[in-house]
Symmetry: C2
Subunit: 679 residues, 2 copies
């Protein structure tokens, strides 16, 4: 290998005795030698079984070979690297190294076509932390574990040691694990202040267990691998969102109050809404999943999945929506990318060939738990056009101002797609195609920033195409991996890779295996949600087993208090949402984003900064009178008592209605916070 050294504004490449090293922003980030090769390639034969969105994935690894032999040639502004298995063999991988928009980009030019497994090592430090990889619910810092990246159901329980997980596994293959998520992402952020993105939608598994390197596995040869560094985390998230896109601001009406999740028809909605209003609850919207009809299964209450107003279930809804709107209360509905076989949308889609097929050329029907649906084929431009028209006509034009755009994780790996693309490669892409469909429908209707849809599934591109994330289906409990607490790392991890607007079902969703939502859980969850961009309730899958917002007066009064705080806080929240739209700096932020030198700040995953000036430590355990909070070195004022705090751990009182929240003494919003402290 020739001796060379080249420095651009972005990276520095230098030769080693038997390899090369690349530094980014002065830090060594890639290193290849004969002994420690950077790339391994191989062949695997996977088995993928889906059980209603839960995947059992096994790999039989046939070969994994180090590419020890590297040849580098300069080629204009870039370098071409040829990696081979042995000295005189044809290269297995050829890629270019170049600077592109101030990013370091490794672009794959050519590879041995038999390769379907690819491993790439990035230099790591022992003390380095790693964040991101989408919406991660169990761990914010990913170091010490590996993370399969495959969009799926998040799992019920998500911890093999819990009874709920065990039961969910035994009965439904549905327990999940620490890494299962609706929104995986082949992008991570290092505490060394760089991000790395692998451009692929194939199954991936990022392994952060090794002290010396991160190993990124992809079941395909990725198109490119990009690195970008920054001098601060704020600058870094700005760069990430410059690359991947940013969400528009939330509609103004969002800040009118909570979105009440109600089902059961017009009269029920009217009645429950009125009761909430009478008790002083501030309401911004009613969110009725069953606006298009419902069905009952053994899992609980499910929806009809034929996307248009169901006037039997919701008589006079068209009129009612107008009345509510005049009171500042918008109507939100529900849609997903599947059409139930009983409906007329299915009939149309089937006739026109808009559905994904099975290998026999018939409509591929997916089992969603006692009912079957067709999969609208998003690789078919005609199907997309049609489904967008469904959104525009049946949702937007009908008067919906928002909806849950559910699912996206279930694309079976054996469907036949119109484009001819492999379903295994498209599986992870699906949530983004679904997000983009919603985005374009809203944009084409001229309603961006006025209409909002919220999603749980995601992948690369969700940053731009999804107007609001919700954390998916938590269990209605206090478990760290699947309960209230799990929402916090979910918000932080998705925030750090560019999805800065996050919220969750107040009280959680999944009630199974004896799990029932308690009053206290509902109240604590509402408290946390007050300090997120959107407050929204959900009845849960088994409403009668779950405590509801209107189950008693005390809860309604507590909710009234929390929604009053939410509305009072709106000027601050709007300010944060605007920053997110402009710069991609998330609304909920890890402490280290503003306190980079505080080592403790890198370890915390159950408290967050709500913008620059509020520190929120939600109570995520049962029966707590006090709560232990970490404050980074600064001048902090406890929101409810006005007591001053400096850095370090402090025990504070947390009666119901008074979660542990602090504001910075030198905030521009001090007056607002003082007003709130009197609410």
């Amino acid at each position: 290998m020739s001796i060379f050294a080249k420095t651009t504004n972005t990276f520095a490449l230098k030769s080693l005795a038997d390899g090369f090293e690349i530094a980014l922003n002065g830090m060594p980030i890639l290193r290849h030698t004969m002994d420690q090769p950077m790339v391994f390639v191989g062949i695997g034969a996977e088995t993928i079984n889906m059980h209603r969105g839960n995947f059992d994935i096994q790999d039989y690894l046939i070969e994994r070979v180090a590419l020890r032999y590297a040849k580098i040639d300069e080629n204009g502004d870039s370098y071409v690297v040829r990696l081979s298995k042995y000295a005189e063999s044809e290269p297995s991988i050829v890629f270019s190294i170049k600077e592109e928009n101030k990013r370091l980009k490794l672009e794959l030019i050519q590879s041995d076509e038999t390769i379907n497994r690819f491993w790439f090592r990035v230099t790591a430090d022992q003390n380095e932390k790693v964040y991101g990889c989408g919406e991660q619910l169990s761990y914010f810092n990913l170091r010490g574990k590996h993370f399969p990246l495959w969009t799926s159901e998040p799992g019920v329980g998500r911890n093999k040691k819990t009874y709920v997980t065990w039961q969910a596994d035994v009965n439904d293959h549905a327990g999940g694990d620490y890494y299962t998520t609706n929104f995986p992402l082949p992008t991570y952020v290092s505490s060394k202040k760089y991000y790395c993105h692998v451009d692929t939608t194939a199954y991936a598994d990022f392994d952060f267990r090794n002290d010396e390197f991160h190993e990124l596995q992809v079941w395909d040869v990725p198109q490119s691998i990009v690195f970008e560094a920054a001098d601060s985390f704020l600058e870094l998230v700005e760069k990430i969102t410059e690359r991947f896109g940013r969400q528009p601001e939330l509609p103004e009406w969002t800040y009118n109050g909570i979105w009440l999740g109600i089902q059961g028809g017009t009269d029920v909605v009217e009645e429950k809404l009125q009761r909430a209003l009478d008790k002083g609850v501030k309401v911004g919207g009613v969110w009725c999943q069953d606006w298009q009809g419902k069905r009952i299964t053994s899992f609980g209450k499910r929806l009809m999945w034929n996307w248009k107003w169901n006037p039997e279930e919701y008589p006079n809804l068209d009129q009612k929506m107008k009345e509510w709107k005049e009171k500042g209360i918008r109507f939100l509905g529900y849609i997903n990318p599947y059409v139930a076989i009983e409906g007329d949308l299915y009939k149309t889609a089937s006739e026109k060939g808009y559905l994904a097929l099975n290998k026999q050329g018939e409509d591929y029907l997916v089992d969603f738990g006692e009912f079957y649906c067709g999969v609208v084929d998003f690789t078919n431009p005609e199907a997309c056009k049609w489904y967008k028209s469904v959104i525009k006509n049946n949702l937007i034009d009908f008067g919906l101002d928002g909806w849950m755009a559910d699912f996206g994780e279930y694309l079976p790996t054996d469907v036949v797609l119109k484009s001819g693309a492999s379903a295994k490669i498209m599986h992870n892409a699906w949530p983004v195609l679904w997000a983009k469909m919603n985005y374009e429908a809203v944009r084409e209707a001229g309603k961006l920033g006025e209409v909002v849809y919220f999603m749980r599934a995601g992948f690369t591109g969700t940053q731009k195409y999804c107007t609001l994330l919700w954390a998916g289906d938590q269990s209605v409990d206090w478990s760290l991996d699947d309960g209230l607490a799990s929402v916090i790392p979910a918000a932080l991890s998705s925030g750090i890779i560019g999805c800065g607007l996050h919220h969750s079902d107040i009280g959680g969703y999944t009630s199974l295996h004896g799990n029932k939502r308690t009053k206290e859980l509902f109240m604590r969850w509402a408290e946390m949600s007050t300090f997120t961009p959107v407050m929204r309730t959900h009845e849960g899958n088994r409403p009668y087993d779950c405590f509801q917002f209107d189950s008693d007066d005390e809860t309604l009064e507590h909710l009234a208090r929390m929604t009053n705080i939410y509305v009072a806080l709106a000027p601050y929240t709007k300010h944060l949402v605007k920053i997110n739209a402009e710069k991609g700096i998330p609304v909920q932020r890890p402490l280290f984003m503003h306190y980079e030198n505080d080592e403790e700040a890198y370890k915390l995953q159950y408290q967050y900064l709500y913008g620059r000036d509020l520190l929120v430590a939600p109570v995520h355990q049962e029966s707590q009178q006090t709560w232990n909070v970490y404050l980074p070195e600064d001048q902090w004022i406890h929101l409810w008592t006005g007591q001053k705090y400096k850095g370090g751990y402090s025990e504070v009182d947390v009666p119901l209605g008074y979660p542990a929240v602090f504001y910075r003494e030198d905030s521009d919003f001090v007056e607002l916070f003082r007003e709130i402290s009197n609410l």
Copy 2:
């Protein structure tokens, strides 16, 4: 590659366009081509954590490379094969192919020293079945699964779907899985009537999931791989035991009756024994684990682990043993390869340097659950000599006629051994060193065939060195994977690889997580044990939670009946035990061993032939009035009713005391069976 074809009496080797093929007894067994290489090699970095004999083993596979390039040279009577990664590279593996004692032997001559992972493919047929791999408790036919081969605790529950397994995992990392066993073995038997043995003690994983090949993984380069075929299964087990050794016959006194597992001191033993005798129970021995003292832990009753008579616990035992012996009742004890730190044996071993050390050069202490022990270092000849003298002096000379030689599976992978051998390599060898120690002590005392010890741990060599297997610690329940039923595949799998004498704890052993032994379970287990070489009870780890042989009169009367049958059957059983000693044909046999053309016979794992002439289908479920039995085509007579049956499935009555047992009409033992039917 040159074109060649060579046929010996044992195998035929022929060249292919880009490889070679070896046939054994006319069937293609090994095949190597560029596309489908026979050998893969690689490098892995394993993590092995032990939790009281339960192992958590993870492998980070760094490389796995096909050795596609083969060169073969004739070399006298054998061939030398050089396998390389690429055309002109140095061979990674060189081995010879030769005939040795009518076996096909692949002997490793040389290999790249960096290799620590080795995969070897054997040609398979789609309908082929595979058996063996030691004592397998969940599956007799191993096809469709892979089997890690690493001696360990068998696990509590052994099925991730059961509550007991889940609880054992959560609380103690102890749940196990379908493959966990005390006695793994890198030897399998194919339904194509050959066996394959891999000569290694390293961690191995035999994978029988692929339709076209079996893939044998070893975490080392094995010394050799041996194949031997036969024209019948009977001939095959004879060949297996010719290669690995056979057990001596059981002592004559065995057939006097059951071995009653009793603890609690001389008086308790005397009292319980007398009660059993009074009720007509035939007793061959009393087996007192706590002859050397006991301790109580949270797991239950445990032993003192200082191997000599404890006269405080067992006053006058020396005299009593003589009295009992005169009545035909022998005394059996207990020993294992560890010495508890509180005892004088530990003190001696520690002073003399007979114990395995830790990396700091101190005695390595193993946690056995609230007490600690030293590991007698069997790689130290002086330590072996000393421990043999303990067995000879403290056990044999003291008057013991048998004992449980417990454990052997716990060798930690980080101990430092006297011989300098790697503990990872010695871990699987340990049970056999332990067996050999017992064997030599008994042989040196001139007591082979008179004294009997029984073991649960095993590996290659157990066939010769272990006088009797017991099935380890079943749960006291009806579960398929860890209860009564699991003992049957355990007997069949260990029998087919040469351990033809098998028995189990009547009623099972492990009572944990709410599991308690019922009266019915005890009785059904006793019924099954009547048709095994040895009947023996165990109090279980929590005697007060478990139904005991003397818990009520009805049970004693049932046991009296079963032991009477056992004793009456002794001439037949002795005949079978003799055949096992002479030819290695196991006492308990799979149906296909005598009915090779019966396809159904290859599928059954919960019924067996007891010798040539009895078919036993133990009732392994609760509350059964009838039992469905499969009979291969023959003239069968139901033992209890004399009713005649031909082949096929039949439903028979199975009241307590009358398990489903049939004899062959043209058996030489018909008279004996008729007598028994009247008992």
